[in-house]
């Protein structure tokens, strides 16, 4: 299982999903109406490392963070 956390303003509890890739995770998240509008604008970290490759594989125990648009300072 992979744990998915939604950061900052995305009002959504963390969830556990059974997926093997970002592609699978993406399909799963696009099914949820409360999450779908965020996805185009969000970046992704796996185990706290930012990911740029859409083919990135996921393995059991991975922690995926969904990061919406930022504004520090």
């Amino acid at each position: 299982m992979v744990k998915v956390e939604f950061l900052g303003p995305i009002a959504r509890e963390a969830m556990e999903v059974d997926v093997k890739s970002l592609a699978e995770l993406s399909k799963r998240l696009f099914e949820e109406e409360s999450i779908r509008p965020w996805l185009e604008k969000c970046a992704v970290a796996v185990n706290d490392v930012m990911v740029k490759d859409p083919n990135h594989a996921l393995k059991d125990g991975d922690r995926v963070s969904i990061l919406p648009p930022v504004c520090g300072g």
Partner: protein, 150 residues
């Protein structure tokens, strides 16, 4: 890298950083102090931070600064920061002024674009996500493009 609940003690942080590097033989010290402006009827701004990714971002910056003989420091607030108080200090120490001037600009701009921090206006005690002033991070949209992969 230092995170605080609420407003920063700007003088304490500025002075302590100065003292920390007093014998490091840097010729230039440039802090950037960010203060909450009174505008649009807000009483405060409020911040969420995702610390593990922020720490990785900061450590990568420290390595980048070290390649140019410099050092960076930063402090940021978590939670509510009232108008006219400060939420952010970034600083560069460098042997020479040119590198310091270039780095403080790059460091602050990259911070704005890529530090995992979310800002909210506080109006009548309510937190409202500052969506219009927020920027998608580098690599945003990955899940949308991943959906098109096999």
């Amino acid at each position: 890298m230092e995170l605080y609940n609420g407003p920063l003690d700007v003088k304490e942080i500025f002075g302590r950083w100065l003292d920390e590097e007093a014998k490091s033989n840097y010729g230039a010290y440039i802090p950037f102090v960010g203060t909450i402006r009174a505008e649009d009827g807000i009483e405060a701004l409020s911040f969420d931070i995702y610390e593990p990714v922020l720490r990785n971002w900061f450590d990568a910056w420290q390595a980048r600064a070290a390649e140019r003989g410099a050092r960076v420091k930063m402090a940021h607030s978590i939670g509510d920061v009232p108008v006219h108080t400060s939420s952010y200090i970034a600083a560069v120490f460098s042997p020479r002024r040119r590198v310091a001037l270039e780095l403080i600009e790059e460091f602050v701009e990259d911070f704005k674009a890529n530090a995992p921090i979310w800002k909210y206006d506080v109006i009548d005690g309510k937190r409202i996500y500052a969506e219009d002033r927020s920027t998608p991070m580098e690599g945003a949209g990955l899940l949308a493009s991943a959906r098109d992969e096999k």
